[in-house]
């Protein structure tokens, strides 16, 4: 075999495999000066019905509205009234309060798992505000902000996280894998990027029925490497489907930095160019820019002008989940040095600059929201916490595999109940 190689004795250079490496590891000093952060308000805003190619320059730019002066700038300013801004601020703060309490609940052993979205609140809360209530959301696992923005009851969320007897999903799903048909929030899968072609399919169905509802879906930058991403974007452009793809580029996929999804060579928004799809790259920590981009894409989809890919450039301030320890693979300075700030602080400062908010109000609100979360926790705990026996009845384990219970599952259900009677004689819990 080796004898047949025709480079024997030649001077051809040796090939070298490139394995990406993040700029900073634990203990490293962090310097983000290489990031090209344009000034707020400098990005042009094409018409929603423009040709896709008119957005391509924005795929390598960064749409920003809130400037260092805490004022809104430029054509992307969505000109929202103060009430709407305060509402978005409140919901983002509620998401953070909820995350903090649920994280602690996991540490206290009340559940098995939790995932925070700290620093990324705008990408779900403000994006959801830009959609209509009956638009269908196909979330990934870090979009609790979408549910909170649609007014989902905190107790319901906690029941799901505790897998208790009031959990609407009957204790079948890992914590935070919510689902609410009533709020047009699709069931979260644990398998990554599968929701993307599904969102496209929903949008195609809506279009084929002459409906006016659109679909919006979320995916992490790491999962854009999945084949589903390519399939979804191909179908979306082929059928001009009314769907929005939100790529949350939070820099990290567990311990793998965005380079493992291709960020060393191109932006994620630039993926749109190859498909002939509209693309926008947005400051994901700028609540106004996120809202404006999502509303632009929603209006575009609703006008039959086609799908949009939005890259939300942001930073995962915490670990991937309660099972992760980011200090083992990245520098702690990254969070402190992140040049796009914190979305909650930025919106609060903007409202203060407008004379529509104050530090005192912010503090009061945070206290109120924390109390609200604690009250919901107490309420949910009445229905049980994970592993303390207050789960759904045994036979529910066999329901909903199919619409009707086939004979083999009936037999297995009988066995499960028999096993329980042997282990817990006299317990009526089945």
């Amino acid at each position: 075999m080796a004898d047949q190689r025709d480079d024997k004795g030649t001077n051809r250079p040796k090939l070298a495999l490139h394995v990406p490496e993040p700029k900073y590891r634990p203990g490293d000093k962090v310097d983000y000066s290489h990031l090209n952060i344009p000034k707020a308000g400098e990005q042009s805003r094409p018409d929603e019905a423009c040709e896709a190619k008119d957005t391509f320059a924005l795929c390598n730019d960064l749409v920003r509205v809130l400037g260092d002066d805490n004022q809104a700038h430029g054509p992307w300013d969505p000109r929202l009234d103060a009430d709407t801004l305060r509402q978005m601020l409140r919901e983002m703060a509620l998401v953070r309060a909820f995350d903090n309490r649920m994280y602690r609940a996991q540490r206290q052993g009340k559940t098995s798992f939790y995932m925070k979205c700290t620093g990324e609140e705008a990408t779900s809360v403000c994006a959801t505000h830009a959609l209509a209530g009956d638009d269908m959301i196909f979330p990934s696992y870090r979009q609790q902000g979408c549910l909170i923005a649609r007014g989902y009851e905190l107790t319901e969320m906690i029941n799901q996280i505790y897998s208790n007897k009031a959990d609407k999903l009957k204790g079948r799903q890992l914590p935070i894998m919510y689902c609410s048909k009533r709020l047009n929030f699709f069931s979260i899968s644990g398998n990554l990027a599968t929701q993307l072609p599904q969102a496209t399919g929903f949008a195609m169905a809506s279009a084929s029925k002459g409906d006016s509802r659109i679909a919006a879906t979320w995916v992490g930058e790491g999962s854009t490497a999945e084949g589903d991403f390519h399939s979804a974007l191909t179908f979306a452009t082929v059928y001009n489907a009314p769907v929005i793809f939100n790529v949350i580029n939070n820099q990290w996929a567990i311990s793998s930095f965005s380079g493992f999804a291709g960020s060393e060579r191109a932006t994620f928004a630039a993926r749109a160019i190859g498909y002939g799809m509209a693309g926008l790259r947005v400051d994901g920590n700028d609540p106004l820019a996120v809202f404006a981009a999502e509303r632009w894409a929603a209006d575009r989809a609703r006008a039959n002008a086609g799908p949009t890919l939005i890259e939300h450039f942001t930073y995962r301030a915490e670990g991937h989940s309660t099972s992760d320890d980011p200090s083992a693979y990245r520098s702690a300075e990254e969070r402190e040095e992140w040049p796009l700030g914190d979305p909650i602080m930025r919106l609060a400062r903007h409202l203060i600059a407008l004379g529509e908010w104050s530090d005192e109000q912010q503090e009061e609100m945070d206290t109120e929201l924390d109390a609200m979360v604690r009250k919901a926790m107490k309420e949910a705990e009445k229905n049980g916490i994970l592993g303390h026996g207050l789960h759904h009845p045994f036979h529910t384990m066999f329901e909903d595999v199919f619409e009707e219970l086939p004979w083999h599952l009936e037999e297995q259900a009988a066995q499960a109940i028999r096993e329980r009677r042997i282990k817990f004689p006299g317990d009526p819990a089945e």
Partner: protein, 353 residues
């Protein structure tokens, strides 16, 4: 009239019938369901204007329009994923995967999504899709156009797997699948699209012409899922088969003059266990035949079930006749295929025991 069983013949009151091959029967089922239910939507590679590489969707785009029957990109992951989303909207998608051998890129969407959606959402969302796909060999399709991957799907909780063996069954079963609110894999044995195949590849191919099971009602009718069909009654042994192999075992039993009871399973999940138990308890001998590879094939499951439930009625060890555990070879297709010699030998062994 050929000597195929008359049990598949339409009931006397079934209305007008027409002789159809399996392709025409499938086309008729799709036509009827597109007409009856505005939510039924067909999608797949080459199924629109062209009508499908096997012609199962011929004429349907012209009749129902491009938004009801349409071509797709070459992306099985996309086809199934999009169908899940369409189901979430409220449509009843019927995706076609051009060959079962191509279904693998769609497996994550089938296994992790379509099959699990009802369970994980506590029935808030369902995936009422029927995935049609031609499967099986005997057409010189080589290893990428001949496979029988049914046991991959029967292993997945939440999926139903249905395989017809006649035009009459194909139409009635397909209508049941489309109306079913769970995801169904509907494998069409492509070797018998145009005529039953008795396993003698060196004899001229037969068409469906003249067979009772090719007399298909032109109107709507259903064959329930989960019900096997008794192809012929007998008391010497029970043969469990589905798809193309139903016809092969029938001809082998006939040629050998063996009074076999042959069950066409039709639905693998949910399985008609009652029919299997009743037959094996009567005959005391069981032969299981499928074209798919042997190890972890559906025959393994059947064999285990018969052993667990009928052991004290068995007078001989259960026999399995299957394809070999190799890829489906092109030039040696008939050496792979579980034909009359392999089946005949197994029958002899069972009866001698």
């Amino acid at each position: 009239m050929n000597d195929m069983t008359t049990e598949t013949a339409p009931a006397a009151d079934a209305g007008e019938t027409r002789e159809m091959n399996m392709i025409e029967a499938i086309n008729s089922a799709l036509d009827i369901m597109l007409d009856r239910d505005d939510n039924v939507t067909l999608l797949g590679e080459d199924i629109g204007y062209f009508g499908g590489v096997f012609r199962c969707t011929a004429g349907l785009q012209e009749k129902y329009g491009k938004t009801r029957v349409f071509d797709t990109p070459i992306s099985e992951c996309g086809i199934i994923g999009v169908a899940v989303g369409m189901g979430a909207y409220g449509l009843r998608p019927v995706p076609e995967i051009q060959f079962a051998d191509y279904i693998y890129p769609g497996l994550d969407q089938l296994i992790s999504e379509a099959a699990r959606l009802r369970y994980r959402s506590a029935a808030e969302f369902i995936a009422p899709m029927t995935v049609r796909s031609p499967f099986g060999g005997g057409i010189f399709g080589g290893q990428t156009h001949s496979q029988s991957p049914e046991s991959i799907f029967t292993h997945v909780s939440g999926l139903k797997t249905v395989i017809p063996s006649t035009p009459y069954d194909a139409k009635g079963l397909l209508i049941s699948c489309i109306e079913d609110n769970d995801p169904v894999i509907f494998f069409e044995p492509k070797r018998i699209y145009n005529g039953p195949f008795d396993g003698y590849y060196d004899k001229p191919a037969k068409s469906w012409k003249g067979f009772d099971a090719a007399q298909v009602p032109t109107d709507y009718y259903k064959i329930p899922l989960g019900k096997a069909r008794t192809v012929r009654e007998g008391d010497a042994l029970t043969i469990l088969a589905y798809g193309t192999m139903v016809h092969v075992v029938e001809s082998v039993a006939r040629d050998k003059g063996v009074n076999a009871e042959i069950l066409d399973l039709r639905t693998l999940v949910p399985l008609d266990i009652e029919a299997i138990e009743a037959s094996v308890e009567k005959t005391g001998r069981c032969l299981i035949v499928h074209e798919a590879t042997r190890t972890s094939g559906f025959g393994s499951e059947l064999s285990a079930l018969v052993q667990e439930r009928c052991f004290y009625h068995l007078e001989a060890p259960i026999e399995r006749v299957t394809g070999f555990d190799t890829p489906y070879p092109h030039s040696l297709e008939w050496a792979y295929f579980p034909g009359p010699v392999r089946i005949g030998e197994a029958i002899d062994k069972l009866l001698e025991a």
